[in-house]
């Protein structure tokens, strides 16, 4: 089967410093794949470059197409969407407007967008309650929901999530992972970057460990969760 996403020999640099060095990563349609690793390993850089926000060397092949000359906006139109670490919400605009703009790439399918909006509201009732509120006044958890909801409005085929549980209370973390797992039923494939390695490995099918810009371990998530070094470094010693 043709992989949905294939990243080969990927390099991303800030000036002279390479933050991602020769990374390779493959994921199939319908999979949840996670990338874990310590702070500063290059996870955010990897996702931002795959979305087209940063210049890179190497190949990103998505759905059989080399994305080299395809800009961020067209990647979104093709269903490759990013929820960035900083969320990048439209702070001064209402929650409902943030969501509607999430479907900007699908603006020619008006009726369909309305339906998607109802689905997002059904998934996140909190957002429905707070439709008219400005995004910048939302609580941290509500913002994560809005960022996720906005990305879902684009009907992504491959959703790249950068630390969706960042800064959330444990109960919300569980909720977010529950949602991530449930997205698979919608046919959305997910590339998940997480600090919360245990939950990420429990939710995903396959995992990569990124350290200092390089992939050091990889394997099916269940196997990684029992790998001695991964356990001691990222899962707090007990498994």
């Amino acid at each position: 089967m043709r992989p949905l996403l294939e990243i080969r020999e990927f390099h991303v640099a800030y000036g002279k410093v390479e933050a991602v060095r020769g990374v390779g990563l493959t994921m199939q349609q319908g999979q949840i794949v996670t990338v874990i690793g310590p702070n500063g390993a290059g996870k955010t850089t990897l996702l931002a470059a795959a979305a087209g926000l940063l210049r890179s060397r190497g190949q990103v092949i998505y759905d059989g197409v080399d994305l080299e000359r395809i800009d961020v906006e067209e990647r979104v139109e093709r269903g490759l969407c990013l929820v960035p670490e900083r969320r990048e919400l439209f702070g001064d605009m209402a929650v409902a407007d943030n969501l509607l703009l999430g479907a900007y790439a699908r603006r020619r399918h008006g009726a369909d967008v309305k339906q998607t909006l109802q689905q997002v509201f059904a998934r996140f009732p909190r957002l429905a309650e707070r439709q008219g509120q400005k995004a910048q006044t939302l609580s941290g958890g509500e913002r994560q929901m809005l960022a996720l909801g906005r990305a879902l409005m684009a009907k992504p085929r491959l959703l790249m999530l950068d630390e969706p549980s960042l800064g959330l209370a444990p109960i919300m973390v569980r909720e977010i992972f529950h949602i991530v797992a449930s997205l698979r039923q919608l046919g959305v494939s997910i590339l998940l970057v997480e600090q919360n390695a245990r939950a990420a490995l429990e939710t995903s099918d396959y995992g990569y460990v990124l350290e200092m810009g390089e992939i050091t371990h990889q394997g099916p998530s269940a196997a990684l969760a029992h790998d001695g070094r991964v356990v001691t470094t990222y899962l707090g010693g007990t498994s």
Binding site: R69, E73, P84, F90, G91, D92
Partner: protein, 349 residues
Amino acid sequence: MTPDIGLILGIDGIATGSIYILVGLGLVLIFSVTRVVFVPFGDIVAFSALTLASMQLGRMPGTIYLIVTLAVVACLVETGQHLWRRQPQRIARGLFGYGVLPLIPAAVAFLTAGHLPVWAQIPLAIALVVPIGPLIERIALRPLADASILLLLVVSVALTFGLSGLGLLFFGPEGFRTRPLTDEIFRFGPVVLSTQTILMVATAGIFSLLLFLFFEQTLIGKALRATSVNRIGARIVGIRPGNAAALAFLLASLLGAVSGILIGPTTTLYYDSGFIIGLKAFVGAIIGGLTSYPGTALGALLIGVLESFASFWDSSLKEVVVFSVLIPVLLWRSLSLGRVDEEDHEVEE
């Protein structure tokens, strides 16, 4: 000063202020979407009045040559960029947008010069002038989209010199005043209103309302706001900042062109008269904080009224008075509101 004179000055000031509102809204629109303080914006106002004046005199408007010049350069830039990025499939669309579209009104004006019916002159003058903004954006500002506000400002100042040079070349050094649409005057007790005044105030009101509806009710309007609130956020939902910038410049150009038509009969304009108009509207926009539309409208109105009264006391000092206002306003702004931030992220943290 008697109350009667005060009233006349007040009305006059509101009329002038209406022009500054239109120009100020254009400046804010461009600044918030592209972060460019578009110094040459006033030139679009003057060029629009001069275009209409040439048409009324049965001459060939210099705007035609200006547009042809800008369109040729823009097409070269556009094609060059697509070849450089190896996306030749986009060239045709670029040439259509930056070559064919702006040249349509120019061609119409060229072919009908001298025997154009009066009713068609104003719309055609506006259509001729509107492409100036987007063309300049494409040529000089798009390639610098990621530059700092300061660099963009420097380029903007340089553009002002370039554009007024072209203005001199194509319009000549003479001053013109367009014929008023009507000379009718209404009296309500002590209040005397000319149709021109009513037209100015009503147009400013209508365009402000339309702009408001555009930003609140349409997806494209919201996309423009989104671009000004968070450029990265806009990109990751599929809004191209380049397209947003082109649209912002197009709408602003329209506001500028309409202002020119309105101001044309009230004062003699020269190829370089736009600068001072733009500057006054800019002061109005600064009072509003450079990012707020209602604030800008209020500030612009204030400048209009202030100018009107200042010119009654001493017409040679009116510019001094208006620009002196800028200093306390800037002080008050920097103390009370903090600065306009370079970063997109001030609200995201």
